[in-house]
Subunit: 131 residues, 2 copies
């Protein structure tokens, strides 16, 4: 594993831990101002850090304490300037019906090194289509 | 736009055109033997080029001539060795009910330059969850 691969892996693990603490500052710390988010629920895309932040408002309304947001398995590919990671994840939340749901999902993260710091410019979260 | 960004964009545009021609050889031409696919329908993940090929069997059973598989908008980020692209796409197909469906979807592609050639090692296709 290269130093860049290790750094990207650590950054994503720390980001997932920040989600579990509901720590917005740490969740957003390594994101680009023009981050492009493809989230599990609609809308199909959210552009920019403010729209990205709102996707977490939605998640935290659905999730409940203790927050489950775990990396099951993750592949990291990193060059000197650009990297991406693909992961199998799981989270838990409560549907409008009151039903508690355990949701496995897929995550792809795209990063660019900006001023020497790995920065997330893209996230893609999804579940397989059900029909 | 750098030469690498242009090359990755062209590779993905050619891949989408190969899908529209149902040209398996060209669809698979620039993929790694251990490609990791997160597709729109289940299963949640497909590992390896044979499993990846089968996801296209499923797509072509659902799709119909003329095949719609178009890039609406695409952002490409490329370093010297690693790249990723995020795109809004659309396709069309026919459900088991006989209903013709026009499906906008999201695509993220991860690539690595291997022996001087850009190679797709990861694809993530999805639609937002409906519930």
């Amino acid at each position: 594993m290269t130093v860049d691969e290790r750094d990207v892996r650590t950054l994503i693990e720390n980001w997932a831990a920040a989600v579990r603490r509901k720590d917005y500052e740490a969740i957003l710390e390594h994101h680009a101002p023009d981050v492009l988010m493809f989230d599990v629920p609609p809308p199909p895309e959210s552009r920019g850090i403010e729209a990205y932040r709102k996707t977490w408002d939605l998640f935290f309304r659905w999730s409940e304490t203790p927050i489950v947001f775990e990396i099951t398995e993750m592949d990291v590919t990193a060059g000197a300037e650009v990297a991406f990671a693909a992961a199998l994840m799981r989270c838990s939340g409560t549907e409008a019906s009151g039903e508690r749901v355990h949701l496995p999902f897929r995550l792809t993260v795209g990063l660019r090194k900006i001023d020497g710091h790995w920065t997330i410019t893209h996230e893609h979260h999804s579940v397989p289509a059900t029909k």
